[in-house]
Structure formats: C-alpha cells, structure tokens
Symmetry: C2
Subunit: 455 residues, 2 copies
C-alpha cells in the first residue's frame, strides 16, 4: 500500500508540475506575442508623460489607468483616495562655478532635489566645501561649514555587482544631506548624482528635511556626474571656488489623488487577495518609463493575462497602480490602511519597481512560509531564464502592508542599466526594450498564476 500510495503521490506531483509547465508556456506565449504592455507603456509615457504626485499629468494617469485596467479585463476598478504632496520644480535651475582660475563662470548641469526648498530669484552664492562622507562633515563642523555650500561628492561603488546596492550606499546623502549640513550652518547642498555612468545628466530624487537635526530648510541640488567632476577639479585648483545656485521649486498644498485598484473576482475565495503593484507617479524629468511606467503596465497586463487566457483565478486578484511612491508613499499607506480597515486577507503582495528589464527572479518574504512556497517553482521558471529566488520582500509601496503582516515579494530584474537613467530626463519610452518588458511582465504573470493556484 505504501508503495502504491507513493506512486500516486509522485505521479500526481509530476502531473501537476507538467500541467504548470504547460500553463507557463501558454502564459509566456501570451505575453510575448499578444500582450498590450508595450502599447500601454507608450501611451502612458509619451502621451501623458511624467507624472509627479499632485501634477495634472498624475491626475490624467489615474483616469488612464482606470480605463486601461477595464480594457485589460478587470471586473471592477476603484480609485482609492490619498492626500499627496504637491512639489513643483518651477523654472529651470541655474548652477554656475566662479573661480579666479576661469575667465568667466562656468555653467554646470544641476537639478533641484524633490521636496527641496527653492533659492528664489536671488540665488545662493557661496564657497563650497567638498566632503566624501557624513563623518567628514561632522569633523569639519560649524567652524568650517557655516555660510558654505556643502558638496557631497560620493561615488557609486562600481565594484558592487548590484547597482541597487551601490545606490543604497549613496542615497542617504541625497535624502538627508541637506539637514545634516544645515545643522552646521551650511546654506545649500549639492550632491553627486546617484549613478554609475559618467555622463552629464543630473538625477533628481527625493530628499526630506529632518527638523530634529535643523529647522533650516536649505535648498538641495544634484549635479550631473560630469558636473560633480568639474566642481571637484575646480576646488582642487582653487579652494575659493564659489557656486551660484538658483532654483524656483516650492511645496504647494497637498492634493487629493488616488491609487488605482483593478480587480478580478476569485471563483473560490473572493475575499482572499493576491496583489501586484507598481507606481503610477514618477519624477518630473523624463517620462517615468522604467521608473515606473513598466511596473504599472506589468500589473495591468496581469489582469489581461487571466482574462485573455480565460483563466479564472481562485482568489481575487488585484493590480494596483500606486500613487506617490517617489515622494511620500501616501498611496502605499492608504492601501494598507484600507486593507486593515476592511480586514482583507492578503495571501501575498508583489511589488514591481525594478524597471522593465530582463527578469532575473524574486525576493520573497519568509513570512507565513511564502519563500518556501515560491522556491518550489524554481524549476518551472528555469526555461524562462529566471534563476534567482532570494529571501527578500517588496519595496516602498508595500512597506506598510508588509508591516501589517502580509508576506511580500519584490520583483528582480537585470538592473545594470537602471541607474544610468533613473530619475533623469533620459528615463523615456525608447529606453525600454519591448521583449525585455514582455518577459518581465510574463514572469510576474506566471508567478501570480502559480500563487493563486497554490492556496
């Protein structure tokens, strides 16, 4: 009996794996030959464009996403309200180096960081102190920094294999560098752009004022990689080099905005949810293509996959276009709050915010055994060149949901090119490869299919 039982159990596992393998082939075929990802992305990025929270384009994007989710086959789409910050860049920034070594001031490529205060028309002209770390800043102290512009000249660690880790090693200078410098009386900060590529494109991104460090909200800028090189060289030749900075950004009153949540009802357990989300908002430079139009269209297409392939999920499946990931995560918090208020049972939540590059795998929470559940599918994904199943979790948008105990998944791509264009005017539709996008969307669709089936 035992042997017969073993046989049946084994053959049923084999049957099930074979079945899943056929399903994945069908799913990939759909994504590679019929899906609407690329067209959706083209519309979102080139017809609507960049979509900073609170902007008219962000509002347009909300209504577009609703329509696109219905078109993909959502049974219902709701707009989930959240109040978002409304920061505006205003007219183009100026950044000039003054040095006795130059016949005339030299213009550098620079942008204001998101959430920064502006200098106004007067601008700020001051001597520059270059530092390589917060430790160096602290050592210099008020005596050396008062009235100066602090230049955080911190490079990506190119020796790291993950560009995300290199980003992680520098992003604090962007995020809290202004308040750290303001504590010592600095009047503004400039930071080397967070990138691995030595070009002349400044990278924006969020900063925040930590009023526990300083009540002075000094303006903060990012220099392009080349501009940072130029400034550093100028300072080597002339420590009395000055920088003139001018920005016109300001923070207006908060604005009512929305997450867009599209749903297909589950046939067996409609009150249990598997969700996938990317963020609809973007920075105000470029078109928010990889960051994160791709995540939005991947999420929408997951609805399309179930509908177009006639697969009815057992659980309710949601695609979420989160609002305000870039400068506040109001959308992520609103979704988690609503889920808690309604006592919704989330089986798993996947965040896709690593661009539309070739998929490499998933970072999965161990919570409630999710990692063990997912890693069993490693062999199923191998023919699709997806090999990496790491312990991990979702990103910023899922942070609140994860804190409430929902096991999360972060989608992982080949991110070598990501920080070349991240938060710049170059994050445009033409930087997204159609096949890479389709493959990334397919990987997500396939995982959601397997997850839904497995509970």
């Amino acid at each position: 009996m035992k042997n017969i039982f073993l046989f049946f159990s084994l053959s049923s596992t084999l049957f099930s794996q074979n079945w899943d393998s056929l399903a994945l082939k069908k799913i990939y075929n759909y994504y590679l030959t019929q899906s609407n990802c690329y067209n959706n992305l083209e519309f979102l990025t080139t017809k609507i464009g960049c979509r900073l929270s609170g902007s008219p384009q962000a509002e347009k994007a909300v209504y577009w996403a609703k329509k696109a989710m219905y078109a993909a086959g959502a049974d219902t789409v709701i707009l989930q309200p959240c109040m978002v910050p409304h920061w505006v860049r205003g007219q183009k920034e100026k950044c000039l180096i003054y040095s006795d070594k130059f016949k005339q001031p030299i213009a550098l490529k620079a942008v204001a960081l998101g959430s920064s205060s502006g200098t106004g028309n007067a601008g700020i002209k001051a001597l520059v102190i270059e530092v390589k770390s917060f430790e160096e800043l602290d050592q210099l102290g008020e005596n050396n920094l008062k009235g100066k512009i602090v230049f955080y000249n911190v490079f990506f660690d190119q020796s790291l294999i993950s560009t995300g880790n290199a980003y992680g090693g520098t992003v604090l200078y962007r995020a809290k560098g202004a308040s750290c410098a303001a504590r010592y009386g600095a009047v503004a900060t400039v930071v080397r752009s967070m990138t691995s590529v030595a070009d002349d494109e400044p990278h924006t991104g969020n900063m925040f004022y930590d009023t526990s460090l300083s009540k002075n909200k000094i303006p903060a800028f990012a220099l392009s990689y080349k501009a940072a090189d130029a400034l550093s060289n100028a300072l080597k030749n002339d420590p009395k080099t000055k920088l003139l900075l001018e920005s016109h950004c300001q923070t207006l009153a908060n604005v009512l905005s929305y997450n867009v949540v599209g749903q297909i009802f589950g046939s067996e357990k409609p009150d249990e949810y598997v969700v996938v989300g990317g963020h609809l908002d973007s920075w105000d430079l470029g078109q928010g293509a990889h960051d994160n139009g791709t995540g939005v269209v991947q999420s929408i297409e997951m609805l399309g996959m179930f509908k177009k392939l006639g697969m009815q999920p057992k659980h309710s499946i949601r695609a979420i276009a989160f609002m305000n990931e870039e400068n506040g995560t109001a959308g992520g918090k609103a979704y988690a709050q609503s889920a808690a208020d309604k006592k919704e049972k989330h089986l798993a939540a996947l965040e896709t915010d690593a661009g539309g590059f070739t998929p490499r795998g998933f970072g999965v929470d161990t919570t409630l055994g999710l990692y063990n559940r997912v890693v069993q599918w490693k062999k199923l994904f191998s023919p699709y060149l997806i090999d990496r199943f790491n312990i991990g979790g979702g990103g910023a948008d899922l942070s609140a949901l994860r804190n409430s105990g929902v096991p999360c998944i972060g989608f992982e791509t080949d991110g070598q090119r990501y920080f070349d264009i991240h938060h710049t005017a170059q994050d445009t539709f033409d930087k997204v490869n159609k096949r890479e996008l389709a493959l990334s969307a397919a990987a997500i669709g396939a995982l959601i299919y397997l997850l839904d089936l497995s509970y």
Copy 2:
C-alpha cells in the same frame, strides 16, 4: 584515521573554495573599476569602425589588436595568416515597389546580403512571389517562380525565449534562399530581416551560393522589418506588384589577412593552452560593436587581468582576435590547422560572440570532462549573478578546433536586445553598456582563471 582524512580533505576543499572566491572578488573588482575594455571598444568601433574581411579597416584592426594585446600585457603577439574573401558592397542599394495601386513607386529600406552578386546598373525588375517556407517554395516550383523575385517572408518566432533560437529558425532563408530559389528560375531574392524588432533597419549577414542546387548566382537582399511588411501588404492588394532591385556588390580576389594571437606564457606547462577568442571582422554596416568588438576586447582584457593582477598562469593563455567569422571563418580554420600542425595541446577554448550584454553563463562541451569541471564552479559564480551552466560548446570560430577534439565553451549573455541591432548600421558603440561589458569580460576572465588553475 578515516575521519581525520575526511576532515582534512573537506577543509582543504573549503579552503580552496574560499581562496577561489576571494580571487573572483579580486578579478571582478579589477574589471569593474580598472579594466580597459570600454576604452578599447571605443577605439576599435569609433576610430577604426566596421571591419569586413579584406577591407582596409580590417587590416587596421589587425595592427590595432596586436598593439592592444601588448599594451594589455601579452608576452608575445603573433599575426597568424589566412586568406579571406573580399566582398564589397559598392554604392548604396535601391529597392522600389511598383504597383498600380500606388501613384508612384515606393522606396523600401533594403541591403544586399553578404557574398551576394550585384544586379549592376540595370537592376532587376520583376513580379514578386511571397513564400513563408522552403516547402511552399518547392510546391510553387518553376512554373510559378521562373523570372520572379522570391520574397522569403519568415518571421522570428517571438514566443521563443532565446532570440538565438528564433534567429536559428530563420537564418537558413538568408543563407541558402538564393540558390533554392534560383533552382526554379527565380531572378533575385529578398528576405525579411532576421530580427525581433519592428523597425526600418535592414539586417545584412552572409549568404552562399550552393552550386549543387543552381549554378545561377542570383542577387540576394534583406528588407527591413517594416519594408517586408510594406511589400507583403502591397502584394495582398496587388499580386502584380513588382520590385526593382539594384545592388553593386561584388566579390574581389581573396586577400591575405590575419588572426591576432596574444599569449602569456604558462609558468608550469607552457606547452598547454587555454584560449579565449572573439572575432575582429564585422559586417560593413555600423561599427561591429556587439558583433563582435565586445568579444575582441573581452579577450584582450583577459590578458590584462593576469598581468595587472600579477597572476602568473600555470598554462599558456591565449587571446585570439579571429579574422573572417562573418563570411568564411578562414581565421578559425587557420588557427585549428596551425594547432594541429604544431601538435599544440589545448585544454579548453572559449568563444565569446554573444555581445557585451549582462553575462548569464556558459555552454560547455562534455568532451574530456570539461562540463563537469566547469559546473563545479556554479556556486562561485552565483554572487556575480551567473547561473546558467549548460551543455553546449563554442561557435563558428571554434568549430574547426572543436572538430579536432578540443573541448569548447560558448559564452552566454542576456541576448534579448542582440538581434535588434545585429548586422545593422545600429550596431554601434553607444549600444554597449559599460557595466554590462565589464561584467561580461569579468565572467570570462574569472572562468579562464579557474580553468588554468584546475589543470
């Protein structure tokens, strides 16, 4: 005793793995922060440019490669002679659709295929027969094809995960389509470009005349993806659509050219070889960047790695810049012949001709246990996001060496974007990402380091 022996054996394995792991970290650091790959590639592609066998640029490239190998640290560099074909494109091709449905003829983007005969000034104007396969061609036969232009309208199979496999499914129409059609009296052929991207860039590539099929060497062209669409549509609307084709290509007398072979002498077994090669020649459109400037600079940099890191290989290590991969593989054959003549013992040979994209792994021959040797290093490569160790082997340049019994390795990259630009004017330096190139070169360097150490 047994247990103690086991302990020592285990700890020595662990020690060795740890040592290798540190060595790989050192190797990757070198490639990511100091290597000269990208600069070398820039020079080769933008200062020398495209390098079709027999062209003055191919000759320049030979002398450049010799210099670059010495600069990288080769102990010796030899030029290994081979006679190569000398095909020239001549003045730009013309391709015009004539149909009663059009007010005037419409120009299409087309290029002559490599090794094709030209039409001369008169051009060829004829009715067009569209086929989707050789079977369809054979069914149509001489009655339908005599005096016509055959249009092989065969698409990439987009549902395949490997673009290389999709290429493999269509490339025969390019390679032998002309002779197959000439057998039935066709006067010329056009083929849909071998690509997954729907753009207006025609892809050239080699064809050959199979005189066992037909002695008629009819001209052969490639249409861009969009041009192929336009021709197919025109034929649907008007079966009497004609095409005018004009090309001025010709095959001149063979030319003396060279493989460039740089070597570092082994400290223990200098008469045993581990070799790495890419091909120096390219098509005459674009700059031969991914195909295969990247393979050349990766190979050169492998010499640089040993020298700059002060690592003396046990066996002699060779970097080979092969000549004439694209239209004859004269270089690959000459190298294999020379190795046979000199009775050189080759432990392993790696071919890199998959572009400078993110590395994914290696396809390794099982010959002489090479696969089992390499696959044991899977864990060492995992931190570098290299996961795929398949049974495989080298490509065209190593074909002759492999036939002589040398176990070969093919380097595998993330090839999703490769066929977007393959053999086109778009295969230019700017399409190569610096980090992806460095990582691909590092993967090769690391494998060669381990191979050398392991024998």
